[in-house]
């Protein structure tokens, strides 16, 4: 990737923070740059101005130094130039001393200059001139030194009176005097002096050497001049020596002076160059400084312009970058968010780039997506919830409305003393038989005036007060308009409203009564079952036993004369036997229900039959002081009943009533018709309809409440068992009435007891009372009767009675034998015992007989009431049923009816 693309990508991927940081950093950098640049510019200008001042000062000092040096050299030169003319002293004063002062000043200036350069910030070239300045200073010092030396040498050379030149002149003068007298010597002297003079003019050493050579010649001439005296010659030689010595000194001084001049020349060469350099550099420094200022100004302007431009550009770029990369995107994002807020859920934020805004946009989009999903879900959920709520509402409304329980919502009024119906469900209307409009908005006490007595008002108040839910148990409400069994459950809503959920338990109550009756019945049935099991077995045996006791006396009475003494005891035996049979019959009634057949009957007649019966007469005789009256409704409707049992009921009740009265009293037997409505019927646990009511009322001591619960139970008696009764009397009454679909109502108090027997009326007419035929009409015509009984006694009695009745009798002791007999023989009738042990019973026997003799007639004989087995046998075709023990008449009637079918 090329660097530019990489840079662009870097910029693109730069985070907002970095971008802001970079932008602000750039701006800050620009600001700092501008500030720094301004400061540096000012500093630079100040420095340059200082530099100019310094340079100017340096220039001034350099020029002063240069001029001073020049002046010193000129003065020094003037000294050498003018001292021969104006004299050494004056020249010394006019030129040498000012020259030295001047050079001292130059040294001072050069020192100052050096310090200035050292202290100031001059350019490097000028700073490097410190070396030159050192040289200048050294040269100046050397100049001063050499200048003084030169002045000294000049002084040595040219000092008036003492100077070497004066000395030489004097010596030459002396020599001239000494040689003046000798031409050759004088000529050589002149030559020598001439060379010396030439030397003094030209300062050419060889001239002095020539003078020395001439002196050599002079000496030689002197040696060769005898005219010259020894002394004079010696004087001349001495003068020549002095001249040469002075000349040598002059030469040496000249050499020294020349060296110094040479020195000066070298110094000048060095110093001039330095001066020139310094002047040039100082000028350069000044012009450079000025140039620098100009340059700085230009550069400042350019840079300022550049920086401003760069700053503006950077600011624009930053602003644009921030605008495009941040502001615009923030605006877009804000717009997107605003649109989203306003409900446009389909908007999406742009996610270009990798910075925080992209991340924010991405986050926004993710959130928006989530929100969309949530909203979608929410809408779905709302719809679902609404639907559910609606469903729930509907369900609850249905629950409320269709609840079988009445639901009433109350609002407390009058400080919680009364309650107004706020809402009710349909069940309330149904239960209370009122429209909604008749309830809602009305006070409970107005609608149900007996509510306080009913107890509900207190419950409502208590729930309102405590907030604790409460139940009002099953109670009976009744007012002028409505009545019934109700059970309430009351609770308080958070809103403060009171809700009463209640049920109309009237039906349930009826059912409950029925259930209780059923339970009682079942209890009794169970009890009777057990008694029946006991009694059944006993009764079977007893009936068999009693068959002898009842059967044989009857046969005997038929055989003995009517006036026989045996008549009475045999009759007594027969009656005892018959009473025993009645007891067994009661026992069986209680145990197995009324086994006898029912028929339409007039209850009044049955009462009358009882009142006319020996039993009643006997009872009356026993309770002579008790008045027994009958108040019979002449319009009493017929009932469908077992007259025997109803008669027994009347007898038992009257007997009990009589026995309940200690001393004189009254027993009233009354009958009446009554139509029971549903409510009343329900109350009594019987069906609504018309009933014929038999009421036996006494004014005895009454029955205790505790005893009332048990009086209909078998063997429950307050009498002494075995003396006054069997304990089966009221049990027979109860079972007989219930067996007839009626009920027994007992009311008892200290004033007496009343038993009301409710019998459903029957539309059927009562058949005319059969007149029992005489024995003669019951006699058979020699038909063959097969007696099947496992009891030998029973077979014997049956055989004897059949014989009496004119039938041909054949007896077998079991069903199997009966079947075997009939395989080979024909009989007209089979007298079939129901229970035989062991072997097959009467029904099974009859079934087998029918297989071989399908038209075989049969009469079932049984010690029990008509059992299921008996009924099945009768359905198979057995025409008659005779209950054991039977009399001759009963047997004759049963056979007659069976044979006539």
């Amino acid at each position: 990737m090329n660097p530019w693309k990489y840079f662009l990508r870097f910029l693109e991927e730069m985070s907002i923070t970095v971008r802001f940081g970079l932008g602000i950093g750039l701006l800050l950098l620009l600001f700092v740059t501008v500030s720094a640049f301004s400061y540096l510019s000012m500093e630079f200008v100040t420095t340059v101005q200082n530099s100019i001042e310094t340079s100017t000062e340096i220039q001034r000092l350099v020029l002063e130094m240069d001029r001073g040096m020049e002046k010193a050299r000129r003065l020094h030169g003037d000294f050498f130039l003018h001292y021969p003319e104006i004299g050494l002293e004056k020249a010394h004063e006019q030129y040498a001393q000012p020259a030295v002062r001047q050079i001292a000043h130059v040294i001072s200036v050069s020192n100052e200059l050096k310090n200035l350069i050292d202290a100031s910030k001059v350019t490097e070239p000028l700073r490097k001139t410190r070396v030159d300045l050192n040289l200048f200073l050294s040269s100046a010092k050397r100049f001063a030194e050499k200048s003084i030396q030169s002045v000294e040498l000049v002084t040595e050379l040219a000092a008036p009176r003492t100077g070497l030149e004066v000395q030489l002149d004097n010596q030459y003068a002396a020599l001239q005097i000494e040689t003046s007298n000798y031409d050759s010597l004088s000529r050589l002297y002149s030559e020598m002096r001439s060379f010396s003079q030439d030397y003094r003019i030209s300062r050419k050493r060889f001239l002095m050497q020539s003078a020395f050579n001439t002196a050599f010649k002079l000496r030689k001439e002197l040696d060769n001049s005898p005219a010259v005296g020894a002394v004079q010659s010696q004087r001349i030689n001495a003068l020549i020596d002095r001249c040469m010595a002075t000349a040598h000194k002059i030469l040496d001084v000249d050499v020294a002076i020349k060296a110094i001049f040479n020195d000066f020349a070298l110094q000048a060469e060095a110093v001039d160059a330095v001066s020139k350099t310094l002047v040039h550099l100082a000028g350069e420094e000044v012009s450079q400084a000025r140039e620098s200022i100009l340059h700085a100004h230009r550069l400042s302007l350019l840079l300022m312009a550049g920086i401003t431009l760069a700053g503006l550009t950077a600011a624009l770029i930053i602003a644009r970058a921030l605008n495009s990369r941040i502001t615009q995107r923030v605006v877009n994002l804000t717009g997107t968010a605003e649109a989203f807020r306003k409900g446009n859920l389909d908007v999406y934020a742009s996610e270009d780039g990798n910075d925080e805004l992209s991340l924010l946009a991405h986050t926004f989009n993710v959130m928006a997506e989530h929100i969309r999903e949530l909203i979608d879900n929410l809408e779905m959920k709302v719809a679902e919830r609404t639907r559910e709520l609606s469903e729930s509402e509907r369900r609850f409304r249905q629950l409320f409305e269709h609840s079988s329980s009445g639901v009433a919502v109350y609002e407390a009024v009058e400080g919680g003393n009364d309650f107004v119906f706020k809402d009710i469900n349909k069940a309330v209307g149904t239960i209370e038989d009122l429209d909604r409009s008749q309830l809602v908005g009305r006070k409970i006490t107005e609608v149900f005036p007996a509510v306080a007595e009913f107890g509900l008002l207190d419950v409502l108040r208590r729930v309102l007060r405590t907030g604790q839910s409460a139940c009002h148990p099953v109670s009976y409400y009744s007012d002028d308009r409505v009545e019934g069994w109700r059970e309430y459950s009351v609770y308080k809503l958070p809103s403060g409203e009171i809700v009463a959920v209640y049920d109309d338990l009237t039906a349930w109550k009826q059912a409950e009564i029925e259930r209780k009756a059923m339970e009682a019945k079942l209890q009794r049935a169970q009890k009777m079952e057990s008694i029946g099991l006991l009694a059944g077995g006993v009764a079977h045996d007893l009936n068999n036993i009693l068959s002898g006791i009842v059967g044989y006396p009857e046969l005997l009475l038929m055989q003995i004369p009517k006036d026989s003494e045996l008549q009475k005891p045999i009759r007594a035996i027969r009656e005892s036997g018959q009473r025993a049979v009645a007891v067994v019959a009661d026992l069986l009634t209680v145990a197995r229900g009324v086994a006898c057949a029912k028929e339409p009957a007039r209850l009044n007649r049955l009462v009358k039959e009882y009142l006319a019966s020996p039993e009643h007469h006997k009872l009356k005789s026993l309770h002579a002081h008790i008045d027994c009256t009958a108040r019979l409704d002449p319009h009493l409707q017929n009932i469908h009943c077992s007259p025997v049992h109803v008669g027994k009921c009347i007898m038992n009740l009257v007997t009990n009533a009589m026995e309940a009265i200690e001393g004189p009293g009254r027993v009233v037997i009354s009958t009446q018709n009554r139509i029971l409505d549903e409510k009343t019927a329900l109350k009594h646990g019987i069906s609504a309809g018309e009933y014929a009511i038999l009421t036996v009322t006494d004014n005895g001591k009454g029955i205790s409440e505790k005893d009332l619960e048990h009086i209909f139970e078998p063997f429950y008696t307050k009498k002494i068992m075995g003396i006054s009764g069997t304990g089966l009397g009221l049990a027979v009454v109860w079972n007989s009435v219930l067996d007839h679909g009626g009920t027994v109502l007992v009311e008892s108090s200290a004033k007496g007891t009343s038993f009301a027997l409710y019998f459903p009326v029957s539309e059927k007419a009562v058949a005319p009372k059969e007149i029992n035929p005489g024995i003669e009409e019951l006699l058979g015509g020699g038909e063959k009767i097969l007696v099947v009984d496992d009891e030998p006694l029973q077979r014997d009695i049956a055989s004897r009675m059949l014989t009496v009745l004119g039938y041909v009798c054949k007896c077998v002791d079991s069903g199997e034998n009966a079947v075997a007999y009939l395989l080979e023989n024909r009989v007209d009738m089979v007298l079939l015992d129901m229970l035989m042990d062991p072997g097959i019973n009467g029904r099974q026997t009859y079934e087998r007989i029918l297989r071989i003799r399908p038209d075989q007639k049969a009469v079932i004989a049984s010690g029990f009431s008509e059992s299921e087995e008996v009924k099945m046998a009768q359905r198979l075709g057995a025409g008659g049923f005779i209950k054991k023990p039977y009399s001759v008449q009963e047997l004759g009637r049963a056979l007659k009816q069976g044979l006539d079918r």
């Binding site: 300045l133 060889f206 020395f212 050499v255 060296a259 110094i260 040479n262 070298l266 060469e269």
Partner: protein
């Protein structure tokens, strides 16, 4: 930054911690404290080591100065132009072979306080002026050519122009005059001798040495003449020589005065019988070329020419570098002077922790004074308290075949004089 996100404060913290740690851990070397009795020169890293070169680079003596320069260059080349990690910067000034020239040139050199030492001069006269300037400034100067006794010691005592910090690898020619006198008196049988000098301390020193020895041997100095530098007219002085009746003229001069004396003497009648003897300043090819056959029979007294493989190798380097043969053998002593100086600088310099080089001016002098048995190309050098480092061994040469050039001259050794003898 995120991210740490690394943030700037963490970076600054780490940086500061590192700085503190490094500051705490760094073994702070003590800054160099100059304890030199004169002063120290501080050569910052990257700055050159400045060495002043004062040589006679103008006039007829320029070839001698050039030889010195070349010898110095070869020594610098030996170290690839660097010393103690610094480049060597030579500031060369022409001293003009005069005292004032030397002095003024020295002023130029010492004007730069960074100058560590001076290599020079060519002429002893230059040195007379320069050494005082140099010495006063605390510098050290070492010459490969100065031989005037005045500069160091005369008769085992401090000479008038001796200056502290002045050294030379050229021999003290106090013995040179002696050698010439010895040869003149004993070998040549000369009993009368004239001397001619130009007032320069070299020239004067030699003539004075000669005169003292000659007189000591029993000879007579019939003339002690002087010329001035720059003189061209020699007839008067030659006349004086002639007049002196001398058998030998000892004229230790430089070019061109020496040339003029020789040439003009050849044209002077009566000089045929006067033995001419000059000095080492004229043992130089340009002189031979200048005088040619006129120089025949001229004696020279000068330092013996060093030899050996090192000399040959250096001569080869010389020839390679400068594409010519050496004009004289004095570049060897110049090479030794430069090398000795650089070796002394190496000993005296102290490198500071920041790379700055500190050179004590007195330390440098001491290092040179302590030189013992330095194996130079010009011989084994041992510096004495006066600054003389070379063992004076002089040869008397005679120019018999000018065409053979310098080599011919230097090979024609008539006599060798050694102080060790």
């Amino acid at each position: 930054m995120p991210k740490i996100k690394p943030n700037i404060f963490y970076g600054i913290g780490v940086f500061l911690f590192a700085v503190c740690l490094s500051a705490g851990c760094e073994k702070q070397k003590p800054r160099f404290q100059c304890s030199d009795s004169i002063a120290c020169i501080d050569v910052a890293p990257g700055e050159p080591l400045k060495i002043g070169v004062l040589q006679a680079l103008s006039g007829n003596v320029a070839p001698l100065g050039l030889e010195q320069i070349r010898g110095i260059d070869l020594a610098v080349d030996k170290r690839q132009g660097k010393l103690l990690g610094h480049s060597i910067l030579l500031q060369t000034e022409d001293a003009g072979c005069t005292g004032e020239g030397g002095a003024n040139a020295a002023l130029k050199i010492i004007a730069d306080p960074q100058t560590v030492a001076i290599l020079g001069t060519t002429c002893s006269g230059e040195a007379a002026g320069a050494s005082k300037v140099m010495s006063d400034a605390g510098l050290t100067m070492i010459s490969g050519n100065n031989s005037a006794p005045y500069l160091t010691a005369i008769a085992g005592k401090r000479a008038p122009n001796w200056q502290p910090g002045y050294f030379r690898t050229a021999p003290n020619e106090e013995a040179s005059g002696k050698a010439a006198a010895d040869y003149a008196f004993y070998k040549l049988g000369v009993r009368k001798a004239a001397t001619l000098n130009d007032g320069d301390i070299y020239s004067r020193g030699l003539t004075e040495g000669f005169e003292q020895a000659f007189r000591k041997f029993g000879g007579e100095i019939v003339l002690s003449a002087l010329i001035s530098k720059g003189d061209t007219e020699m007839q008067p002085v030659l006349t004086a020589v002639m007049n002196s009746g001398t058998q030998l003229l000892f004229f230790p001069l430089f070019q061109p005065e020496g040339n003029q004396v020789l040439l003009q003497s050849r044209k002077t009648a009566g000089f045929e019988n006067i033995i001419l003897m000059s000095d080492g300043a004229l043992i130089e090819s340009s002189f031979i070329e200048a005088v040619k056959d006129q120089g025949k029979g001229l004696y020279f007294v000068g330092p013996s020419r060093p030899g050996g493989p090192e000399v040959d190798a250096l001569a080869k380097d010389y020839a390679v570098k400068f594409n010519t043969s050496p004009a004289a053998s004095y570049y060897l002593s110049a090479f030794d002077a430069a090398d000795l100086l650089m070796q002394a600088l190496e000993k005296a310099a102290v490198a500071d922790s920041d790379g700055t080089l500190h050179i004590g001016r007195q330390a440098l002098r001491n290092a040179l004074y302590a030189t013992r048995g330095y194996k130079g190309v010009s011989g084994t050098l041992t510096c004495d308290e006066f600054g003389d480092c070379a063992v004076p061994v002089f040869n008397i040469l005679r120019l018999d075949e000018p065409a053979a050039g310098l080599e011919g001259l230097q090979s024609n050794v008539m006599f060798t004089y050694s102080c060790e003898k």
